[in-house]
């Protein structure tokens, strides 16, 4: 049997949306709403919170800047004062006591006067000191480990003797190298060189071996430290008794 609904369209019973269509619609609406909710949460809550937190931290850091600047200036001043202290210390240590150098050197030179046959008679013509080179190394010394120098002492003169002035010079040369002042104040001495010179002024000795030598002074800081260590050792030995 065929039934025909002759009622006008408006009077006809409304047909329910088929479930197969209704469910996807609901799902679609839910999906859209959820997506919108997530988007709103992410944008207006999560992202905003994160931004706020970052801004707060930036503000906190900005507030600490004056203190950090103060700390930076303090560190700079600390470094500056350390540098100044080091400079003054280096100035103090850089001093070679020229009185000691010359006085002790002269002692060795005139020492030969009283040694009889083992002695020597030295006359000096000139004595001069020269500062160390710009790197503070002794001439010819190479490499980082080359000993520092405190400059040079140059002198010339004669080893006077009637007989064999070269032998007199050798005695003096040996004595100088064995002397305490040499070990304490110098690191090197140039090889001896010279020649016999005859004097015809009626004075004795009438011969002399010319002397021209250069002594390299020790680094004053090293020499000073060594002297102080030796004094310390003596004091310790002293207190141990």
């Amino acid at each position: 049997m065929i039934t025909i609904n002759l009622l006008p369209q408006d009077y006809r019973k409304k047909e329910r949306t088929p479930i197969v269509l209704f469910l996807p619609i609901i799902a679609g609406v839910a999906t859209v709403l959820s997506a919108a909710a997530v988007a709103v949460y992410v944008h207006f809550v999560w992202f905003a919170d994160t931004q706020n937190k970052r801004e707060m931290l930036e503000q906190t850091l900005a507030q600490k800047q004056p203190m950090l600047k103060h700390e930076k200036r303090l560190l700079a001043e600390e470094a500056e004062f350390k540098k100044r202290a080091d400079t003054i210390e280096n100035i103090a240590k850089s001093r070679i006591l020229m009185t000691r150098i010359l006085d002790e050197f002269v002692d060795v030179v005139v020492d030969g006067d009283t040694l009889g046959e083992e002695g020597y008679l030295i006359r000096l013509k000139s004595f001069a000191t020269a500062p160390p080179n710009s790197r503070g190394r002794r001439r010819g010394a190479r490499g980082k480990n080359a000993a520092k120098s405190g400059g040079e002492v140059k002198f010339d003169g004669w080893a006077l003797a009637d007989k064999d002035p070269l032998a007199a010079f050798n005695r003096y040369h040996e004595r100088l190298q064995e002397s305490r002042t040499f070990h304490e104040n110098y690191v090197a001495i140039t090889d001896p060189e010279g020649r016999i010179e005859n004097f015809s002024d009626g004075k004795l000795p009438a011969k002399g071996w010319t002397i021209k030598q250069t002594l390299t002074l020790r680094d004053p800081a090293g020499a000073l430290t060594e002297r102080r260590e030796r004094r310390q050792q003596m004091a310790e030995k002293d207190s141990g008794r």
């Binding site: 197969v20 269509l21 859209v32 997506a35 919108a36 997530v38 988007a39 992410v42 944008h43 999560w46 992202f47 931004q51 970052r54 931290l57 850091l61 600490k64 203190m67 950090l68 103060h70 700390e71 001043e77 600390e78 500056e80 004062f81 100044r84 202290a85 003054i88 100035i91 103090a92 001093r95 070679i96 006591l97 009185t99 010359l102 002269v106 002692d107 060795v108 005139v110 020492d111 006067d113 040694l115 008679l121 006359r123 000096l124 013509k125 000139s126 004595f127 001069a128 000191t129 003169g157 002397s179 004097f199 009626g202 004075k203 004795l204 003596m234 030995k237 002293d238 207190s239 008794r241």
Partner: protein, 480 residues
């Protein structure tokens, strides 16, 4: 299902499209925001690290401030070795004074560095100042002149020195009087001008805190300038002067030198023997019995060592040993070893040790006295020996010895008192008139103030005790 879908009208497709678009837009927003949040979190992490570092740096500020304050004081102390502006102005005056005192003649002085020091633009707070001098002087005069600067209160360095023997070029000519050599000399120093670099950082309560810091850990200026004390050696030959003699002169000089050498050798032997005696006495010192003899021995030894030290100083100052060899021998064999012994003795403080030992003995004696061990006290006093007879110079030791003597005397008195037979057989105590109380001793009645045959004085009587005084010692005798 397929049919239903097919039946969906065009409008519906539009709705689906819009919905899909909305979902995709939301996803897009989420995706973009997620990316931004990630970036923000990275920034936050970085900021947190920075803040944490900043906090740790800020926490260290007080300690850095302390370092800076201390550094300022240290540098100020260190800088005291360098001349200040006023010193520089005075230095030329010093040059003149020192030249007059030492005898050198200044021929030329170039102090342009000092005069131009205010014009420099460098920010370096240290400025090197050099004085160039041309002098004339004998060797000892020059050494004295240089030494005065090297021992000057502020840092002055003798830079380059050039001595040219005045008669060197004219070998053979006779020179009369002390030869004055030509000398070129550089004197160098540094001026410290702290204001040349940056201004110091402002630190709150800097003055008070500096005082606290210094009180906590005092600043010790370990920057001591090395010194050399030059002593004019009148008998030393000037090697810059021609030592040669005329062929006809000189025999007597050799004899003189020989006699001098002999005298020096003799003195050296004497000093060596004296030093050996001192060493022997030091070894024997600890073996002496009795405190007082030991104190006396120590006093005599100290006196002897002081005299020996003075003699050494005198020989040194007077340059008794003219040759470097004998002088070295004197220094290494006599002066240095003796100085070690002398310093060791001073640092040991012999007097202090003896005093402590005596104080301990005195304390033991007091303890023994309380415990009634009087014989021990007398024996100990005898071991100390001669407390009365000895004239001890140290007043503190003398005081202790006098106390020992007093304790020993009291102990002796008590021993003697105990040896005197005293039979107390009764007493009458009068509370209203204690001086009228009576005690029966050896069948005789005594009131306070009365003296027994053995010199014992009855001091007081009460119901529990009789107090006697014997040889100034107060002795109580308990009744009942």
């Amino acid at each position: 299902m397929l049919n239903a879908v097919k039946n969906v009208k065009k409008k519906a497709w539009i709705v689906i499209g819009v919905a899909t678009g909305l979902v995709l837009s939301c996803a897009g927003v989420v995706w973009v925001d997620y990316g931004h949040v990630g970036e923000e979190e990275e920034r936050i992490a970085a900021l947190e690290t920075q803040i944490s570092k900043a906090d740790s740096r800020i926490a260290k500020i007080p300690s850095i401030e302390d370092h800076v304050l201390r550094g300022r004081v240290v540098v100020k102390e260190y800088a005291k070795i360098l001349p200040n502006d006023k010193d520089i102005n005075r230095l030329v005056k010093r040059i003149t004074e020192f030249s007059v005192a030492s005898g050198v003649e200044i021929e030329e002085l170039n102090d342009s560095d000092a005069r131009n020091r205010g014009r420099r633009k460098s920010k370096d707070p240290f400025q090197k100042i050099r004085y160039k001098l041309k002098l004339r002087g004998a060797l000892d005069e020059l050494l004295d002149f240089m030494n005065r600067f090297e021992n000057y209160e502020r840092f002055v360095k003798v830079g380059q020195v050039k001595i040219t023997s005045e008669d060197a070029r004219t070998v053979g000519e006779t020179v009369q009087g002390p030869v004055k050599h030509k000398v070129e000399l550089d004197l160098e120093t540094y001026v410290y001008e702290p204001g040349r670099s940056n201004e110091p950082v402002e630190i709150k309560n800097a003055d008070r805190r500096t005082i606290d810091i210094i009180e906590r850990e005092p600043v010790t200026n370990d920057l001591q300038l090395d010194h050399y004390d030059f002593v004019v050696k009148a008998d030393r030959r000037d090697p810059f002067v021609d030592p040669r003699r005329d062929a006809s002169v000189g025999a007597g000089e050799e004899a003189l030198a020989s006699a001098q050498a002999e005298a020096q050798a003799k003195k050296m032997n004497e000093l060596a023997s004296e030093l050996a005696e001192i060493k022997k006495a030091i070894d024997e010192e600890s073996k002496i019995d009795g405190f007082v003899p030991r104190v006396e021995f120590a006093r005599r030894l100290s006196q002897k060592m002081a005299e020996f030290a003075a003699e050494i100083e005198e020989l040194r100052a007077g340059n008794f040993f003219s040759s470097a060899k004998t002088r070295d021998h004197f220094v290494t064999e006599i002066a240095d070893p003796f100085e070690l012994l002398y310093r060791a003795r001073k640092s040991l403080g012999k007097g202090v040790l003896v005093r402590q030992e005596l104080e301990n003995q005195l304390e033991n004696m007091h303890r023994a006295f309380k415990e009634g061990r009087y014989e021990d006290i007398v024996a100990a006093a005898e071991t100390i020996g001669g407390t009365k007879a000895t004239n001890v110079e140290d007043p503190e030791i003398a005081e202790i010895l006098s106390q020992i003597e007093s304790v020993s005397g009291r102990a002796q008195a008590r021993i003697e008192f105990s040896q005197i037979p005293l039979a107390i057989t009764g007493y009458v105590y009068m509370p209203r008139y204690p001086v009228r109380s009576v005690v029966i001793i050896n069948d005789q009645a005594y009131s306070p103030g009365e003296v027994l045959d053995d010199g014992i004085v009855v001091r007081s009587i009460d119901p529990s005790r009789v107090v006697f005084v014997f040889k100034t010692e107060r002795i109580e005798h308990l009744l009942n």
